[in-house]
């Protein structure tokens, strides 16, 4: 019995345009190193490109990201096309354009999960981190409207020095608004965020305290909280948390989230600036089996040699190392800044 090779999920960056200017934005085209100019394809070309990559990869899940995906006028056509192909669609959006009219075009149940940033319960902090006045009110309104329309919503909290003091209250806000869960993502430098490390980067102790609060909150309210950005076990005692789930880099596995930019260029993940090739011109499998992808998957910082979970952890976030330090073989900048405190897992 011959089964087609399958890759589970992909990220499609619908557009590089955005109406926010987040301090922590990790978009690869905002890195210090230049990213090739990217012209959005026409609707027909975009659908043809997505059709080709779905044919080849048999992916069952596509997360639409950006920029702000809803800025692109044909995003609804793209979503309908993906649904016709039997693909599950997630939408990663800042929520600013999720008006009742926009939501009406996305229901019933076209989107599996909406991911919206909820950066603070304090309007000023949320708006500052978003780089957009009024972002907090627009986002909370969008979240409430989505829940009124019975959609699944995950609130994303990007943990920084600016908003960690309000973490517990922000989680309460997400819960009260009806969010289905929270992603507690530590600030992971890259893109615009790499320019604000001093202002944003929290210490391991601050983050560990926030994890303690998250565990308690999740237990109290039976509320799912996942830490998607890898929390290196050599810095954090993750084993003591029963309720929280922790993500590791998925590079090289079936769940790696290969990312396609608006022009069809494929990258190992949405944080990484490495371009593996263009899916319009080459076969998906040729690209992810190619030398650039193999090098990315194989990359391990020397620092991690001898650690028992080196293979599973993959040295924390190699894409952040690449974005900030130029190579995925370097050490994740967060780990690098706190290397003296790291205790390898033996």
């Amino acid at each position: 019995m011959i089964r087609p090779r399958r890759h589970e999920s992909l990220v499609f960056e619908v557009t590089q345009r955005c109406n926010h200017a987040c301090l922590h934005c990790y978009n690869a085209w905002k890195n210090a190193a230049p990213y090739p100019p990217t012209r959005e394809l026409s609707t027909a070309d975009t659908l043809a490109m997505l059709g080709k990559v779905l044919d080849e990869s048999s992916a069952r899940l596509i997360s639409l990201s950006g920029g702000e995906p809803l800025l692109r006028a044909d995003v609804y056509e793209i979503i309908d096309f993906l649904l016709e192909r039997g693909t599950t669609v997630n939408l990663i959006t800042n929520g600013s354009l999720l008006t009742d009219k926009a939501i009406a075009r996305l229901i019933p149940d076209k989107i599996s999960v909406f991911e919206l940033p909820l950066l603070s319960i304090d309007r000023a902090v949320h708006d500052r981190m978003s780089g957009s006045a009024g972002a907090f009110d627009r986002m909370t309104m969008a979240l409430a409207s989505l829940k009124a329309a019975r959609q699944r919503v995950v609130a994303v909290f990007v943990a920084t020095r600016l908003n960690l003091p309000q973490w517990r209250e922000t989680a309460e806000l997400a819960f009260a608004l009806g969010a289905d869960g929270i992603m507690f993502n530590r600030f992971n430098p890259g893109g615009e965020g790499a320019r604000h490390v001093a202002e944003l980067q929290a210490s391991p102790a601050e983050l560990q305290a926030a994890l303690d609060a998250a565990e308690e909150f999740s237990r109290t309210y039976d509320f799912p909280i996942s830490c998607s950005i890898a929390m290196p076990p050599c810095l954090f005692d993750t084993a003591r948390y029963e309720r929280l789930t922790f993500g590791f880099c998925a590079a090289g596995t079936k769940r790696a989230y290969y990312t396609i930019d608006p022009a069809g260029r494929l990258r190992p993940c949405n944080h990484s600036p490495t371009i593996l090739g263009n899916v319009r011109e080459a076969n998906f499998w040729d690209l992810i089996d190619g030398p650039a992808a193999r090098d990315f998957v194989a990359a391990r910082p020397e620092f991690c040699t001898g650690c028992r979970i080196e293979a599973a952890c993959q040295g924390c976030c190699k894409a952040a190392a690449e974005a900030c330090l130029g190579s995925p073989h370097n050490l994740d900048p967060f780990l690098s800044a706190n290397a003296a405190r790291a205790v390898k897992v033996r």
């Binding site: 699944r152 608004l177 799912p224 998925a250």
Partner: protein, 437 residues
Amino acid sequence: MPYRALNGLLVVAGLVLALVLVVLGADLALAARTGPRWKRRLVAAGLGLLASLGLLSAGCQSAESTNPAPSTAAPATGQSLAETPQWKHLAATWTEAEEVASGRRGPYPFDEAGQKKLLADLATVGTDIDALAKAGQLNDAEAGLLREDLKRLVAGVEAKRPTEMRMATCYEPMMMQPAHDSLARLEARLPLLESLAMDEKIHPDAVRKVLTTIEADVAYLDAEEHLNEFPPKDRPAAEKTRDAARAALDRVKARLAAPPAAPDKLASSKDWAVVIHYWQTVTPLAESGLGTEKQREDAAKCLAAATEAIKRLTDASELSEGESGLLLTQAQCLQEDMYRNPPTDSFIACYDIAISPPQQQSLDRLSARLPLLKKMLEAGKLHPAVIEKILPPIEADLKQLPYLPENYPAEMREVAAVRAEVEQVLTDLKKAVDGTK
């Protein structure tokens, strides 16, 4: 009874046999599937008991766990379907895949090697079906149905994540239970939402949106047929949660309906400082009713200045007409209270000053304030700083009313009417003030 005893003996014997097999290092799962029927039954019974005692679990499947090896030989003629090696392999692999795909073995039912092995076994099951169909052991319809179901099983096994992938979720939205607002969650959400709404942490429109979902939940729990879905022991809790939710809804709605908070410029203005100065100067004199001529002269000057300040604030729309009217009335009341006794440094005879009874004064004051209070509420612009000043004397006057003599029924009716109206307005005002803090 004898039948139950027989079953009990069977389980005990199975347990003994299972333990013996464990001691001998045999594979219990394999022993339960192979060999004579009596042995399979005994081992299965023993395994069942161990499992029910929690001493045995399906656990994570690894590459070491084996199903019968696939057979390349064609099924022998005359052999029953169940006895063919192809069917034995198919049945064992099928059972395992079904358990994995159904989620009975949990979200991470195997390690990577175990998943690879199971998928490889499932791939050879297709060959088994082909061989059995070719040998006439399965007809075309049976083989076709099995092949269709096999696709479902393969997809189900592929969808499960190996233990190595337990944490590989970076950036991807988390796996989670389907969204549903359990009663417990509703109960926990409401106080938080109420507090956020009261503190104006979120925009009122967002709160209104959230309320629509909660109202729907409450309405759902209003229906008898939905309440009947709860087990009898849980029904009182469901009703209690529903009632608490409704009460919280009413509170949040009342908060949302309150007039919007006025800008906070007033409290920091110079004119307001003049008004405050008057209050601070006169209140001690008014409370005691004692003061010198000089103090009263100063108070009169302060009152003039405060009156002008209040007028300016009204002209600048910093105060509503209702607010300014009440402040002026209240300022005048304080002035009158201050004069209720002769000055402490003069010799004016006590009869020179005619004073009406305190109860009557309270009634008069309340009657005078009532239209202003209503006007202020209607204007929809409220300043907590103003309310703080005017509420205490009104409440003090309200307390005076019950002491009116009872042999004046007409007056009592008037008192009752004024009291009811004032109390209602005060309640509305307090709600509004709570909302603006």
